[in-house]
């Protein structure tokens, strides 16, 4: 099963690299403005990670731009979507069914990389990069460290005690999702709005670092700064929570005497530790 997770991860990395390699050459809508007609071909080529790119430019000359469509067009984009969706859903199912926590973390990394590819298909290039850096990089490293700290086999990994209520609630959630899908399945873009807006070049920087950065540092400056406070509080809170004892300033960290970290200390340690 670990080889399966590794293969999943490898496939995700290879696909992401292929997608980025084909995505990088054109800044997209910016080049589209300068050269309107051939730029449509570039735009479609960027999404297409499947390889059948020859048929696309002829179609793309008709469409003003791929941005004017509510979703990426073309069979290559559809193929890429189904591929990355399979990676995302398969990795997620793998995550919640594996008994070994390390395997779960590795498949979760594959899931996050697939989600980054989905972000890139939604023209959120900056957030795709952030997804890989923050989620697949930082958060998953944190998970791996904690799994290494307390790697212990579970005797019963699945909780089937209140199974009826859980199945009912899960069915309710799935039904809600189904109803939402059927509700949104008829969601259509407003073509007049997007066409007119596109002509002015307003969305040239959509989803790029420049566009998101301008948004974050003008309209969303206060939430952006508030997030830094949240992160600071989280860092301090994590330190306070995970620290073994309350250490006063200037004092070296007291080594817990007579408390070996192994077996036999469970009851004693449970009483000595402050309750969480």
């Amino acid at each position: 099963m670990r080889t399966g997770a590794a293969a999943l991860l490898l496939v995700g990395v290879v696909l992401l690299v292929a997608g980025v390699a084909s995505a990088q050459p054109g800044p997209g809508p910016t080049a589209q403005i300068a050269v309107p007609r051939p730029g449509g071909g570039v735009q479609l080529l960027r999404i297409d990670g499947a390889g059948n790119v020859d048929a696309v430019p002829a179609v793309a000359t008709d469409a003003p731009d791929d941005m004017s469509a509510p979703a990426p067009t073309g069979k290559g984009a559809a193929f890429a979507f189904w591929l990355f969706s399979a990676i995302v859903v398969g990795g997620a199912i793998f995550t919640i069914t594996r008994r070994n926590a390390v395997t779960a973390v590795m498949s979760l990394v594959g899931t996050f990389i697939g989600i980054a590819a989905i972000y890139a298909m939604l023209f959120a290039h900056f957030l795709a990069a952030i997804q890989v850096l923050v989620y697949a990089g930082a958060i998953m490293v944190l998970f791996v460290f904690v799994v290494m700290l307390l790697n212990k086999e579970e005797e019963e990994p699945f909780a089937f005690r209140g199974v009826i209520g859980k199945v009912l609630s899960l069915g309710a959630i799935a039904y809600l999702g189904f109803r939402l899908i059927t509700l949104f399945w008829r969601v259509k873009d407003d073509p007049t709005l997007t066409e007119a807006a596109w002509q002015t070049g307003e969305f040239a920087a959509y989803g790029t670092t420049k566009g998101v950065g301008q948004l974050l540092f003008t309209d969303y400056l206060f939430p952006f700064e508030a997030v830094s406070i949240v992160l600071l509080v989280a860092v301090i809170g994590a330190l306070v929570l995970a620290h073994p004892e309350h250490v006063t300033a200037g004092e070296p960290e007291p080594e817990p005497a007579g408390k070996p970290p192994g077996a036999g200390a469970g009851a004693v340690a449970g009483e000595a530790e402050p309750h969480v």
Partner: protein, 106 residues
């Protein structure tokens, strides 16, 4: 049927988001390991992010990208604090089984 397969729409991304969220709920409900429960919460947050970005694309409104950025930052903070709590609980009780953590039950 082939139209659904080969012609992408906004609904495809929303459906993927709903499926991912359901998988996350299932993991949070059926697993006992607190680490796996935290991972399922991350899955749910990502499903929400996909929906946010899909609607941002639908309306050509970049504000959704700012919101998704906030969600990622808050998810990072949540993961840090959650994992610290898991470590502290493990240090106190030598297990991370969420069904056996009944100290607040009366």
């Amino acid at each position: 049927m082939s139209n659904v397969l080969w012609q992408l729409s906004t609904s495809h991304f929303l459906a993927l988001s709903a499926v991912l969220f359901t998988i996350g709920v299932a993991g949070a409900l059926f697993r006992r390991n607190a680490l796996i429960v935290l991972m399922s919460i991350e899955l749910m947050l990502n499903a929400g992010n996909i929906a946010i970005l899909t609607f941002a694309r639908l309306h050509h409104d970049q504000s959704g990208h700012g919101l998704a950025m906030m969600v990622i930052a808050v998810a990072a903070a949540e993961a840090a604090v959650g994992l610290a709590i898991v470590v502290a609980v493990f240090r106190a009780t030598r297990h991370v089984n969420v069904d056996r953590l009944t100290a607040l039950k009366h």
